[in-house]
């Protein structure tokens, strides 16, 4: 490997990014991800609008807890989860179904570089969509709070840190789930059943022993959320975080889990064969 190789790989990854982003982020068939991400934002803006219209006071404390619940239960466990299922499983398995993967394999690109390019494209697509939606949702909470209260929360109450933590967690969720579902796309011809099993595994995380808890994306993500969700109602068990992991461990832990997934995916990519008839 020399400097020339790194320059070439950078160019190739850039070309793959360009191709894939056009297919996923800017195409009509990506509409469902936008809807999935925008739904809570629309809801929170509707709430803000109704409050402003009826002259109701904003309870920032209550709204922050509601957003924390929406973020952990809806965004992390459902919206980003299914968004990543759709995007990352489509990267290779989807192209196999559409019989267009061979064009990539007939280009002078290392399979690992192809994998890296596609994975990055998936992360960029999902992160842009879900981080923007998260930011818009947070803006909806602050927009109908009195200006002084909002400024105090943001600049004196650690609000900026909370906003960055939510956006960062959303991005890390895309990174983590992306790695998991990219591998699923390689290992399983019908990745929906493993996706359902992953959903079940993530839901069971509070009940698992400490060692098995760590083999979970949601375990690290929950630790990174700035506000804990009150353990109430039917889904109280999902809110419980018995051993919160500090950020300096959660982020590397998640990245390590993702790297392990990508390593397996790279090995599979190297052995990939085109046999469209079997699909």
């Amino acid at each position: 490997m020399n400097r020339g190789d790194w320059v070439l790989w950078r160019e190739q990854v850039s070309a793959i990014l360009h191709l894939e982003i056009k297919k996923n982020l800017l195409a009509r068939r990506g509409l469902w991800i936008y809807l999935l991400a925008a739904a809570p934002a629309v809801l929170l803006w509707a709430h803000a609008f109704l409050n402003m219209r009826h002259g109701r006071r904003c309870d920032l404390g209550r709204d922050s807890l509601i957003f924390a619940a929406v973020f952990q239960f809806f965004y992390l466990r459902l919206a980003i989860f299914f968004g990543c299922v759709g995007v990352f499983m489509n990267l290779f398995r989807g192209e196999m179904i559409e019989k267009s993967l061979h064009y990539y394999l007939l280009a002078p690109v290392r399979r690992e570089v192809l994998l890296a390019g596609k994975y990055l494209a998936g992360v960029v697509t999902t992160s842009v969509i879900f981080c923007t939606a998260t930011a818009l949702s947070l803006a909806a909470i602050l927009v109908h709070a009195p200006r002084q209260v909002a400024e105090q929360y943001l600049f004196a109450g650690g609000g900026v840190g909370h906003v960055l933590a939510y956006i960062g967690t959303a991005a890390l969720a895309c990174v983590g789930y992306g790695g998991v579902f990219l591998v699923m796309g390689f290992l399983f011809r019908n990745p929906v059943i493993p996706a359902a099993l992953v959903l079940l595994w993530e839901s069971m995380n509070p009940f698992l022993p400490a060692m098995l808890k760590k083999i979970s994306v949601i375990f690290y993500l929950q630790s990174l959320c700035p506000l804990p969700v009150p353990a109430q109602g039917d889904f109280a068990f999902l809110a419980v975080l018995a051993e919160p992991t500090p950020a300096y461990l959660a982020v590397p832990g998640l990245l390590l889990l993702t790297a392990a997934g990508l390593f397996v995916a790279a090995r599979q990519a190297r052995k990939l064969e085109i046999n469209y008839g079997a699909e």
Binding site: I66, G86, A196, F235
Partner: protein
């Protein structure tokens, strides 16, 4: 050269009657489905809960004899075979049938659309309605076999064991099983077919079916939490069915939405699915 030899004759033999022509589709579909060992194994697993419930019915009606074996006399069964018992049975079988639908449903139409097979069907004396009925009958049959059919058999066994009085007082349970199963089967079959027609990719259709249930439920809860209302439950399919079954099985549990609104919502979902099928099932494709 003039055509002077007209030796070709059209087929003049018996043809399948029009009303049963749709049955060609499920005949071939089942052949393909049961080639999968996983699918066959799961289908067999779906009959385990009915066997368990059969044992429970036997136990409930013969508890005294059963406990005598262990030297206990005069014991009464803690288990009551009533509406709640059969509602629990239906709930379990509905869960299993959801998984079965996630296996079977997505591939029914998406494969035909992706491989451009629809013109082959529709260029015969075969309408779109017959096509949909044929595809739907695959699911209707499979899901019936694991929901109301074993449910009614269990009801019959209980009736035989408990006696005519019990049977006459609880005939409504049979109706609840039948109607409750059919509303579930219809909605979930239409949903699976509509999603299968929408995305043209079997795997995406399967994921979408999962998403419709879980994401809609999650978003419904989000609506309730943010707007401090109850109508978010209207997009929670599990809750809708629970509300409908609650009334059918005369449960005392209270629900946050009315039965009428639950029925209306389910009706709208069915109508939406039919509209989507009508739009997507065409013998041609427009490329812009």
């Amino acid at each position: 050269m003039a055509v002077y030899k007209r030796s070709y004759r059209g087929y003049a033999g018996p043809v399948t009657s029009e009303w049963s022509r749709f049955a060609i589709i499920p005949r071939y579909a089942y052949r393909g489905l049961f080639r999968s060992k996983i699918m066959t194994a799961f289908f067999v697993i779906c009959f385990i809960p009915p066997l368990v419930f059969l044992f429970l019915i036997y136990l409930a009606n013969n508890f005294g004899s059963f406990t005598k074996v262990f030297g206990v006399t005069g014991a009464t069964s803690p288990l009551a075979v009533n509406g709640e018992f059969f509602a629990t049975f239906l709930g379990i079988q509905a869960g299993l049938s959801f998984i079965l639908t996630a296996f079977v449903g997505p591939g029914l139409i998406s494969g035909d659309l992706a491989n451009r097979a629809l013109p082959l069907y529709l260029s015969r004396p075969f309408s779109r309605a017959e096509y949909v009925i044929g595809k739907m009958s695959v699911l209707l049959m499979l899901l019936s076999l694991i929901t109301w059919v074993p449910g009614l058999i269990l009801f019959g066994v209980q009736g035989v064991m408990a006696g005519r009085v019990w049977l006459s007082h609880n005939l409504w349970i049979a109706w609840a099983l039948f109607a409750g199963s059919w509303i579930w089967i219809l909605v979930i079959s239409l949903l699976a077919l509509a999603l299968s027609a929408w995305v043209k990719w079997k795997i995406a259709a399967g994921a979408l079916l999962l998403a419709v249930f879980f994401v809609a439920a999650g978003f419904g809860e989000a609506i309730n939490a943010v707007l401090e209302v109850h109508w978010g439950r209207l997009i929670n399919l599990t809750y809708l069915f629970a509300t409908v079954w609650n009334r059918l099985f005369r449960s005392r549990e209270t629900f946050e939405i009315s039965e009428a609104s639950a029925w209306l919502m389910l009706g709208l979902i069915c109508a939406g699915c039919l509209a989507l099928l009508n739009r997507k099932l065409r013998a041609f494709e427009v490329v812009k």
